[in-house]
Structure formats: structure tokens, C-alpha cells
């Protein structure tokens, strides 16, 4: 359907897919990976939270943390191959700390801190940042022709893209500075806001948590510069000519609205929007010539088929109306429509079918 999309995956070195939840983003990323592998490229697909069946199809074992690239057997042509990995935010964060801390004792102190443990595991922002970190690692290793990164669902902003900036901003925040300072100079420089912050946290969460928090921030100090540099490098990588952003949507009005916001966020952020994939589109049936006669049928098997034809047509037309705006907005970039297939897509065979539809192959 879209020759341009085939061109994107044959040229780009990094493809970032973004879109609202429930539109089949990960499936699309995997199908793009298959298409690229079939065109002779060595490609890795990084997913954040794949559905179980899809993970199985990609040979990823969810239980066994597949944080390292793993080759998907039987996919690829002309020397191309498909690799997949699932982001393990916690493991990536641990690895970052271990690398940056300098000595094992210091690393250990951070890794066992309770505040760190809850941040590493659960904080949404931490996961976004770690996806970026993992991307940097993969890019630096230079093992792949193409990296496809499937971002977590988002509605009106791309959290992943602002994560490095947010972390750097947080590290530059007066509170963070105050917390990482020796106690005595702290008293001198701490402003009202910081004092209030500490007082409130102490009052709300108890003194022990405050101590551990301060301890955690202190042990991070010195790593700040490295994290800052890393964030800056990733920001450059994401804006490189060889990096393409793809929006994945579905034809539902709500998803289209969110995708429209996302598309603006991508463009406004100075990123390169190269395509829009509209997924899960119901096929539009051919109109019936004898519709008037058929509509008046008594109940029976043919009436059932006519009724289904009518509802499917109504839904498919409504979807096309919704898609129109998004397609217009995406003028100048590749647009691909993917039908909602007869079956749910969760194995290599159906992904390959989707890949062919995506690239017009």
C-alpha cells in the first residue's frame, strides 16, 4: 500500500513508533521489523511492554527478562535478520548506576537503597528515561543497520522524548542541589521552598524516608554530569536525519484526535515525522445493487448476511470519515492503512502478512 514506508525502513537507522494505547503499536513495530529484515537489513525491535502472544512470536520470554537482543528465528532475506528485545527498565537503571558510580561499594549503596529500588521499578518517568538509555547503548554498540523503538502509549505528549530533559532538569533543581549538599552549607543556601519541601516530606512520610531520600540523592551526585551528557547525545540522535518518527493510530475518533496531537508534538519538537500508520481499519464492503429488496428480507441466513453487510459498511464509512483529517494532516509523509485482519495478529506468519501490507510488497 505504501511504497514510501518501504523507503523509510530501507533508509532510516532509527525508527520511533508512537501513538495512543490499544492501536497495535507494538504489532506494527514488529511488522516493520520483519519488512526491514526481509529487505536485507539487520534490524532490532525494542519493545517496552509487549503483549504475551506477541512476545512469544518474537521469541521473547517475559518472565526471563529479555533485555538483550535475541534473534527471531526464520525471519530475514538477503542477509537481513530480525532481533528483538524487551526493555527491562530496572536492569537498565542498575547497569547505568553500576557503570557510572565508579566503585562497586558506591554502586552497591545506591542499588540497595529503598528509595532507589522503588524509583527504579515503578516510576513511569524512569521507564521512559531507561528506554532512551537502552537506545543509546544499542546505537553505540553499532551492531544493527536499523533500530526500531516502540514507545509506551501516550496521549498528547511523547514522554519518552522529554524524559532526558526532565531528568536533567530534576538534577538541576534547587531541591536536588540542596539535598546533595553537605549539611552545613545546606543550611546556608537552602531557600524557603526547599525547607518547606523537606519539612513537608518529613511531616508526611516520616523522618526515615527523608534520610534515605537524601542518602539516595547524595550517592547520585557526581553522576549528574554524565547523565546530562548522555541526555544531550540522545537528543541529537533523535533529531538526526537518519531518524524517522512514525505515528501509529486506529480509525477511532478518540485515537485520531490523540494521534493528531502527537503528530504536532513530534513536528514541534524538531523531530522528523516520516509516516502515519492507521491500523485496525475495517474493510469497506462493496455496495449492494439490490439493497432495497434485500433490506426487507424476512429473518434468515441471507438477512443475517445483509445485516452484517450494512453494519460493517456503516462502521467502515464512519472510520474513513475520521481518518480523513489525519491523512490530510500527514500530507507529504507516507500514509499506510492496515486492515483489521480476520484473525488477531500474534504470530510470525500473520506479522509477515502485515509487513507486506505495510510496504506494498
Amino acid at each position: 500500500m505504501s511504497v514510501e514506508l518501504a523507503e523509510v525502513i530501507s533508509r532510516a537507522e532509527l525508527v520511533v513508533t508512537c501513538g495512543p494505547g490499544g492501536v497495535g503499536k507494538t504489532t506494527t513495530a514488529a511488522a516493520l521489523g520483519i519488512a526491514a529484515a526481509l529487505s536485507g537489513r539487520r534490524v532490532v525491535v525494542m519493545t517496552v511492554d509487549p503483549a504475551r502472544r506477541l512476545a512469544d512470536a518474537l521469541g521473547l520470554d517475559i518472565q526471563a527478562h529479555a533485555n538483550d537482543p535475541h534473534q527471531v528465528e526464520g525471519v530475514g532475506a538477503d542477509g537481513g535478520s530480525l532481533w528483538a528485545l524487551m526493555l527491562d527498565a530496572e536492569a537498565t537503571f542498575d547497569r547505568l548506576i553500576t557503570e557510572r558510580a565508579g566503585d562497586p561499594d558506591k554502586a552497591d549503596k545506591i542499588l540497595t537503597n529503598r528509595v532507589y529500588r522503588s524509583i527504579a521499578g515503578s516510576l513511569a518517568g524512569a521507564q521512559d528515561y531507561m528506554a532512551i538509555e537502552r537506545l543509546h547503548q544499542l546505537n553505540a554498540a553499532g551492531q544493527f543497520d536499523l533500530i526500531i523503538i516502540d514507545t509506551p502509549p501516550s496521549r498528547d505528549a511523547i514522554d519518552l522524548l522529554v524524559a532526558p530533559d526532565r531528568l536533567v532538569r530534576f538534577l538541576g533543581h534547587p531541591i536536588y542541589r540542596a539535598l546533595t549538599m553537605p549539611q552545613r552549607s545546606f543550611a546556608r543556601v537552602a531557600n524557603a521552598g526547599t525547607t518547606a519541601f523537606l519539612w513537608i516530606v518529613r511531616r508526611l512520610a516520616g523522618p526515615r524516608l527523608v534520610e534515605e531520600t537524601i542518602e539516595f540523592f547524595k550517592s547520585l551526585s557526581g553522576m549528574e554530569e554524565g547523565l546530562r551528557r548522555r541526555a544531550a547525545e540522545v537528543a541529537v540522535l533523535l533529531r538526526a536525519k537518519s531518524t524517522s518518527f512514525l505515528i501509529v493510530s486506529s480509525p477511532r475518533a478518540e485515537a485520531v484526535a490523540e494521534s493528531t496531537h502527537l503528530a504536532s508534538a513530534v513536528v514541534d519538537g524538531g523531530f522528523r515525522l516520516d509516516g502515519v500508520v492507521i491500523n485496525l481499519v475495517h474493510p469497506l464492503p462493496r455496495a449492494l445493487d439490490a439493497l432495497d429488496d434485500l433490506d426487507g428480507l424476512e429473518p434468515g441466513p441471507l438477512a443475517d448476511q445483509v445485516a452484517y453487510h450494512r453494519e460493517l459498511s456503516q462502521l467502515a464509512r464512519s472510520e474513513r470519515d475520521e481518518m480523513e483529517g489525519l491523512i490530510r494532516l500527514a500530507s507529504g509523509v507516507a500514509v499506510a492503512e492496515l486492515p483489521l485482519l480476520e484473525i488477531d495478529v500474534h504470530d510470525v506468519a500473520s506479522l509477515t502478512k502485515l509487513a507486506a501490507l505495510l510496504t506494498g510488497g
Binding site: 521552598g193 475518533a253 441471507l302 453494519e311
Partner: protein
Amino acid sequence: MTTVPVAAVQRGTSSGLKGHHRYPHCVEPNWVTDARVVIVAGKGGVGSSTVAAALSLVAARDGADVLLISVDGRPGLGPLLGGDPLDRNDKTLQTVGVDGRVRGRTIPPQQAFADYLAMKGISSVLRKAATAASLDSIAAATPGLEHLLVLGKIKELERERVADLIVVDAPPAGHAAAFLRSASALQEVVASGPVRTQADEVAEMLADRARCQGLLVTLAEETPVNEVIELAYDVEERLGLALAPLVVNACWPRRKGLTVSTTAAAKAQGVKLSPADRAALESVAEYGRARQENQQRQLARLAELLPLPRIILPRMPTARFGPDELELLADALASSSAVVR
């Protein structure tokens, strides 16, 4: 309002979902109003926000004063219910009959934080300083705090009985799991102090079936089914949250006629089709047959793997969901025939 403790019906014993085969399912049509808070949750794209809106409407038709809270702050829920876009102010969206009413609002974490500080008697000067220090930083130091503050606010509203029923449109799963778990996660980290008290009180509300229920929404498709099963066991086992019937959204009506060829169907009804019409219907029937088989397979999996009564809601043949569709969805939700045991 009639109250039949639906949770007791579903669980029957304290053994939860696992012991389901031992007790009878006899869900009453008025399960909607069994608890004072219903938290509606589901994976992105399954329509849990619209189900939350439809549920509010059903309860209002029953004469209840309902407050719909969108945690994610979806302003569009207001117009869907015939009112203004939702914001942080509690406002009436629609009145139904004599007593029924649907109100709506959002709870931004910043506001929940400020309200909480005010409630704890922290002075406005300090409050201002603290807000300037930004909730972001405080939340970073106390993970899960934002969610807890929002749940805490809901708990306060429940305690004050601001409405007969509070319907919470939870953030999409996996955020839903993080949202609901925030209290128990903080209980692990924080040993004492007001945050601990808040976490304890929220956990207590979640586990009290007379006060709070979870209503999970899914589609009859592979991935949403897998995820809702996981979410159901997770919230029930870890939080003790009683579950209302499972809502399976956007199901096509089952049409027997799709299982036969168009030629046979036309013959059975004595109709002569033009070759073009026959081809068009044949390809539609083939597609519909495969989708229908898939839907039946997923419904069967749900029946087998998740011992909750199921409410099957019809798919609306439109990509844009408006007030008319919401009324139809509420009709379907209210009809006890929708409940499949």
C-alpha cells in the same frame, strides 16, 4: 437504593476468584449501586471511559446522584454526557428523571496535594512554598504519591458522601495497576506518618466491598482478554478489591447466517442474487465469520479463565462515539439479560 452485595455473590467465600466453582452466581440487575465507589479500568482502546460514562447514566436513571471522576482528566466525557468539558470543579452534566443526576470532575494531582496539605492544617504560606517546590520533586522522592493523593481525595469524597455513587474512570492499564497499587506500594516504603495513614485508609477502602468495587472492561480479542485476566487476579489478590461483573465491550451480535455460504443462504430464503451482490455478500460473510469465530473463542476463554459474570455490550457501528451511542450503551448495560453467567 437496593443493595445486593455483588462482591459477596461473586466471591461467596474468602478464597476469591480461585474458588469460583463452589458458589452460585446470581447477579442482580441492580448490581450497579451495590458499592459507593466503582473504579472502572481497562487497557487503552477498550472503551473503559465510555463504559464509566454509561455506568453513571445507568445509576442516574435509577434515581442516584452520581459523581463521575476522570483520573486521567478526559475533558470529552463531559460533552458525552450532555454537559461542559470536565475540569477540576464538580458540576452537573445531566439530570435524569426526578432524582437522578450525573455530575463530573477531574482530580489533578496538584489539586489533590494542595487539598491534602490544607486538610492537614499546613499553613497557606508553607503550602505556597511547597507547591512552588513542585509536586514533581516531592513525588520523585515518594513514588506513587501522586496516585495515592488522587485515591486519597476519592476516599475523602466517599467519606463525605458527596454522591450516592462515585464512578472513577481509572487511567488505562498497566497504569491502572500502578494507580490501584499505589497505596500498597507506599505501605511498603513508608513506615509511619500521615502518608502511611493515608495509604492505610485507601487500602482499607479498596478492600471493603460495601464501599468500593472494581469494574473491569475488555474486548473479545486476544490481547485485551489476556491483560484483563492478569489485572483481575492482580487487583483481587493484592488489594482485595471486589470485582463487579466483567464488561466485554464492542461485541458484534452473533449471527448464525454468517456461518453458511451466501449461495446457500440465498437459496434457503428463495432469493436470486446478482453475481456482483453475491460476491460482495460472500466476502463480507467470510470476514464476519472469521471475526465471529474469533469473538466466540475469546468469550469462551474468558468464561473458562475468569470466574466473573460477564456483561456483553454491543459494538456501535461508528468510529465516533456520541451521546446517542452512550444512551444505547447504557440501555445494554442496564438490561439484566446482558449478564452472562
